[in-house]
Amino acid sequence: MLSRVAENLYWYGRYLERAEDLGRMINVNGHLMLDLPRSMAPGWAPLVRITGSQALFDELYDTPGERQVVRFLLADTRHPGSVLSCLHQARENLRAARDLLPREVWEQTNDLYLLAQDQLAGNLSKRRRQDFIDLMIRRCQQLIGMLADIMSHDYAWDFILLGRYHERADMTTRILDVRSAHLLRGVDESQPFDQLQWMSVLKSLTAYQMYRRHVRLRVAGPDVLRFLLGNPLFPRSVVFCLGAMAERLEELPDHETTLVAVARIKRLLDQADADALVEGGLSAFVDHLQLELIAVGDLMRQTWFEAKPDA
């Protein structure tokens, strides 16, 4: 497989996941704003921080109100990280690799972008926005299901999945970082709103229901961290994503160094003390995780996307 095509497929997986994650985040934030009293409601600004696009946002908009943030994250073509831009990128990355995948995958991806373009034009009422996001998430899920079921699980598949889980691991750490920032240090978990806020962290990752099944009824900070960082069964936890990446990596040629880097992050997570992190240090820990994730991306690039003469 050509390096360029492998890279295209990896980014296809990443952009598809990013669009889906953004959609979930916007929807959940909408719910949170209704669940929490006004004084505790997170507002819309954290979403911009999570996506690391504060500077661009400030350049384009005056206030981080709902209308502005949602437009910025969903439909703004000037923002390369908006859902619409991501779907466009997913399509363009796939275009160069379309012959490797079943024809339906290209048609669906193309169609998804055209649909988004169509639905996101003009004013977005809350209702239309939510309908679109729900539909978009379903379509992304459909695409992944289609890939899993009708394409050979060959290198192309490995790279798409690597992109998907890499993006998800990254997104989970970002959401954890921003959402829990004001919850840490000296929290009293008997406070009903603290519970609600930790619940909101779970909900941002569509993890609430699974958490309740796996952990226990009361929602406590350290447990939430343990679950989102280290639960091996929940597919949006960081450890699960790393495990899924490791599985794909093992299929690829010359995977040793990248696999070692992934194992190193897993070890970091195994050794993490959730209670201590809640007391302080989560932010530094997440920074560390993110740097390690970036290092994995660099190794992938060196190993597969930029073949060197001595390779």
Binding site: M1, S3, R4, N110, L114, P253
Partner: protein, 516 residues
């Protein structure tokens, strides 16, 4: 033999709407609404020599079964099949890219349901003539980059060569394997009023259209059929030809198709050919030439040596080290690798020197000079403005002539005398006088027509034919070729970039010649 399942067509019609949405592609639409009951006028008449209908109004022998069948379908059925064809073409992704202000879009190539028919006996003669022609052209190119005997012998003027935009200094002294430079040639043929097929031009650089020829047949097989000679061995023949250029003796040489990228209008064809041959479709940035002067492609397994490159990039962009320095599409060092004999290139750089329209006028002499034979497929009579007496003739008779610049393709920059205004003719006279070497003129041919569906009726439309000739240690000519059709009444412009469409081309064994 013929697809007559009504359910198939209603399904296709439903898909039609869906596809239009999915691809954003424009189609001809369905004109069943305007008087579906009205009857087709089968008293088809053309003022030109017609490919299907003889001078007395009846179908030619090779087209007789087809014409009978079409007549039996009736108008509604015929139009439904026309729509079905379009859907099949969209589903198959037979598109080319069109650029406009809002970006670019894949558009379906207009496809006409009614095939063009050529008797096998005639086609065999034409094929033989094309092989003769390409053989001579390759000897000519090889000579130009070698000893230039044809110039020393006074058959081909040195000043024509000196003025050639496609002669590549950098290729002098190179002898590619088998002495072949133009491995893939697409020659355009037209039929004049007297029924003779003429070569209008040879495309020796990166001729395109073969994918349409093959996909047209796939589409056609779903809606019409007949006793037709197959065309689908082309990708296998192309692969064999390319493999024969491999510098390394290996069972499976690494062959790649080099494309300028997905924004090229012929990207569909590049991807299609790579897929059909089972080889990688690469861009310039996927390839690298190392100090050993070998070409490698970047893969997830590291660098892999490439043996043969079917390049679909113009010479000028091929290697920034030798040609245009600003080329982002090419591969630095590719010419070094080719000269060292470490990689096969098809077509060879510099092959375009022989598809200049002034060189074209010398092809009959070229054939006689190298092969000592008379041309089997004639050239269109051509006046060369570089010669004083011929220039005077052109200037005096411009209203009857077609004037073409020497180095343009795609139908750009030409003057069709009888259709041009006085102002346009004066403007062209000025252009010719300023640069006579750059112009040739030909009589306005009465190019043949073929019955074509237009606005719900069958009408004559002008057609040409582009067969493809493969050359290495042996030759192969496609069975027929791509018939291009000018979709507008009276128009002679068949280029897809200017609104032309295409038809399936049937080579029919009318008198059992294939059995012998």
């Amino acid at each position: 033999m013929l697809t007559d399942d009504p359910q198939y067509f209603s399904l296709l019609r439903a898909a039609h709407t869906a596809m239009r949405y999915a691809f954003g592609a424009r189609t001809q639409g369905n004109d069943l609404s305007d008087g579906a009951k009205s009857r087709l006028d089968w008293n088809y008449r053309s003022d030109f020599c017609d490919e299907l209908i003889g001078p007395r109004g009846g179908p030619r022998a090779a087209a007789r079964p087809l014409w009978r069948y079409l007549k039996g379908l009736g108008r509604e059925e015929l139009l439904e099949r026309r729509d079905a064809c379009e859907v099949a073409a969209l589903v198959a992704g037979i598109t080319f890219r069109v650029y406009h202000d809002e970006g670019s879009a894949d558009r379906a190539m207009p496809f006409d349901l009614i095939p063009r028919v050529i008797p096998l006996t005639e086609w065999r003669q034409v094929s033989e003539g094309l092989v003769q022609r390409v053989t001579a052209l390759n000897l000519f190119i090889d000579d130009l980059y070698g000893e230039q005997k044809i110039i020393r012998d006074g058959v081909f003027p040195a000043e024509i060569l000196a003025g050639s935009a496609n002669f590549r200094e950098q290729c002098v002294g190179i002898t590619p394997r088998y002495g072949v430079w133009a491995h893939i040639c697409g020659s355009d043929l037209v039929r004049d009023a007297d029924g003779t097929l003429y070569v209008l031009e040879d495309n020796l650089r990166v001729p395109s259209g073969v994918s349409y020829m093959l996909e047209n047949r796939q589409v056609m097989k779903k809606v019409l059929g007949g006793d037709i000679q197959p065309v689908d061995d082309y990708p296998a023949r192309l692969y064999d030809m390319l493999a024969s250029l491999s510098p390394r003796p290996a069972d499976y040489p690494t062959v790649v198709v080099l494309t300028p990228g997905m924004f090229n209008s012929a990207y569909f064809e590049h991807a299609w050919l790579a897929q059909q041959m089972g080889v990688e479709l690469v861009e310039g940035r996927d390839l690298v030439v190392l100090d050993d002067d070998c070409v490698y492609m970047r893969t997830i397994h590291g660098l892999r040596q490439v043996d043969v490159i079917y390049r679909r990039i113009d010479d000028a962009f091929l290697d920034p080290e030798v040609f245009r320095e600003d080329s982002m599409l090419g591969v630095r060092g590719l010419m070094r690798a080719w000269k060292a004999g470490h990689v096969g290139l098809a077509n060879a750089p510099g092959a375009g020197v022989a598809d200049d329209k002034v060189v074209y006028s010398y092809v009959p002499e070229i054939i006689r000079y190298y092969l000592d034979q008379d041309p089997m497929v004639p050239n269109v009579p051509t006046w060369r403005c570089s010669i004083k007496s011929e220039l005077d003739h052109v200037l005096a008779n411009i209203e009857q002539l077609v004037v073409k610049p020497a180095n343009e393709s795609g139908g750009y920059g030409m003057l069709i005398g009888p259709h041009a205004s006085r102002k346009e003719r004066e403007e062209f006279k000025r252009l010719i006088k300023a640069d006579p070497r750059n112009y040739i003129a030909q009589p306005t041919l009465a190019i043949s027509t073929c019955p074509t569906l237009s606005g719900g009726q069958i009408a004559p439309r002008h057609v040409d034919l582009r067969p493809f000739i493969l050359s290495s240690d042996q030759h192969y000519v496609t069975m027929g070729g791509l018939t291009r059709v000018a979709m507008r009444a009276g128009s002679l412009v068949v280029n897809s970039s200017q609104g032309g469409g295409s038809k399936d081309t049937w080579i029919v064994d009318v008198d059992g010649a294939g059995q012998g």
